[in-house]
């Protein structure tokens, strides 16, 4: 398509006369149209349908926010910090964040959960929220009620905690199935991934246990600055392919695969992240040091394959680490526009430097 030969305006109120366009003015057929920019719109739909708020008061009372952060200094020498942030894609479409994070701590244990609702599932934001709620509450309650004598035997204690993780996943599956029934949906409409970390800190023993259903990652940083990926990520041949979620039947089987860490004195930090954080740092086994380096040492310059990442001081040495994490999660990388959630438990004050 060529522009029509038209009048060229010259000067203020000058005469118009036909003129052949210069070559650079020709618009060639197939010239790419201008790319659209991102919008940031509030979610238009209600967060939870009325049918479910009647059945679940905890959903009725919940106030949804696009971005959430929290941190808590524990009297065990640890701090929990976490943040979840609505992805650019949801912000552009005006839809809700589908990730959820939650942690709880009691005299004997601390539980961390990060869940990522499946984007193809209509009510996945409720699935991830209810899953993290049920799992943290169940484990905390059971550990508080446990027989203190279990601590005498490391095997019995470990078995007890493993059983509680599996039962908590089963409870979350049952809850999502009930919720689906209550709003005439299918259980798969509530699908969510789940990362769980349990820190048991009893009078005689201390140990960590973790479990993974779906994608995302669990990673540990040792005090010699080595790292290790825990859990078992679930992915297919192509990006975004996950075969097992809560409340699928396979989730119950996957909940029995639990990693146990006994040498807690060597651990500096444990991190749970949804795929919105794992994917930009893939493969995390190799890039975990870059990730921990930024969390401990701050952002000195943006990572080479990122589009934008502001310079920041250390995240984990800040008083408000949760808020600092939420800010840090705002980095930009092309094609990575998913919700981002990161939840970690680290020595406080920190014992390693980057």
């Amino acid at each position: 398509m060529q522009p029509e030969d038209g009048p060229e305006k010259s000067g203020l109120g000058g005469h118009s006369q036909p003129k052949t366009p210069k070559p650079e003015m020709l618009i060639k057929e197939g010239t790419a149209p201008k790319a659209a920019g991102w919008k940031n719109m509030a979610a238009a739909d209600e967060w939870c349908p009325a049918l479910l708020t009647t059945k679940y008061p905890e959903l009725k009372n919940h106030v949804y926010q696009d971005n959430v952060s929290s941190d808590l200094i524990l009297n065990t020498g640890w701090r929990v910090a976490g943040a979840t942030r609505r992805g650019r894609q949801h912000a552009h479409q005006g839809t809700h964040r589908e990730d959820a994070i939650r942690f709880r701590s009691s005299s004997r244990c601390t539980i961390l959960c990060a869940a990522d609702g499946a984007g193809s599932s209509k009510w996945s934001r409720l699935g991830s929220h209810l899953t993290s709620l049920r799992v943290t509450d169940h484990i905390i309650e059971q550990v508080e009620q446990m027989d203190p004598a279990l601590e005498e035997s490391p095997e019995k204690l470990t078995d007890f905690l493993k059983t509680q993780i599996s039962k908590a996943v089963a409870l979350a599956c049952a809850t999502l199935e009930e919720a689906a029934l209550a709003c005439s949906s299918a259980p798969k409409d509530f699908r969510s991934t789940l990362l769980t970390l349990v820190h048991f800190h009893g009078k005689k023993r201390e140990l960590f246990l973790c479990n993974q259903i779906g994608d995302g990652a669990i990673c540990v940083l040792f005090n010699d600055k080595t790292t290790q990926i825990l859990g078992a990520s679930d992915s297919g041949s192509f990006s975004g392919e996950v075969s097992c979620f809560v409340p699928d039947t396979c989730a119950r089987t996957k909940s029995e695969r639990i990693d146990v860490l006994l040498n807690c004195e060597k651990i500096e930090c444990l991190l749970l992240c949804t795929d919105g954080v794992e994917d930009p740092f893939y493969p995390l086994q190799k890039k975990s040091i870059e990730l921990f380096g930024q969390l401990y040492g701050g952002v000195k310059e943006k990572l080479p394959d990122f589009t934008a990442q502001p310079v920041r001081p250390s995240i984990l040495n800040q008083e408000g680490a949760g808020w600092a994490l939420a800010e840090w999660l705002g980095f930009e990388k092309r094609g990575e526009n998913d919700d981002r959630s990161l939840l970690l438990m680290h020595r406080f004050p920190t014992t390693v430097t980057f």
Binding site: G30, G87, H92, G119, S120, S124, S239
Partner: protein
Amino acid sequence: MSLRRLPVYILADCSGSMNGNPIESVKSGIRALHSELMGDPSAVESTYLSVITFDSNAQQIVPLTELSQFNSPDLRAGGTTALGAALKLLSDAIDREVKKNTPEQKGDWKPLIFIFTDGEPTDRWEPAADELKAKRPGNVIAVACGDRAVPEVLKRVTDNVLIMKDMSPDAFKQFFKWVSASIKQTSQKIGGTGAAAPAEGISLPPPPPEIVIHM
């Protein structure tokens, strides 16, 4: 740069029977598709387009190309319908151009493939169709256009077969609008989650009224 792309392949029948309005409608449809996708920032970041044409031979006239670099091709109709050669070319192009997950690198998103044809294949198409169906290299949607297309042939390539009897410019316009919506929906899933179970494939928007799903 470890960019994860959404590869989209368009296989267009350019045989002699497409001459006139149909081929012009396909050309303007691809231009409109490109323009529409440029209005979606997620598609701009992730979508890569390729066009494969087939008449008496098959040719990949646009290799997998970033949306902002894509130029709509000039298509001409003539010759016979070498669907088998096109399917073989598609399979080879995917093997060459699409990255799968490895421990070192996240793969591309599962390719989206649109095939449309208005006639019976004239080459030995069956082995290529069987190979493609067994290989499942992506989500394949085939459209039988007009009265002479044979949906059963396309069923041998994919279970997702649509029928578009009307070959008017308006029908093609609606078809390409639907293709655009399908790509956007797929790239939105990408942005919104890491979570589409592969066994279930993808859910696309309902096709326009002119297009019937072949069961």
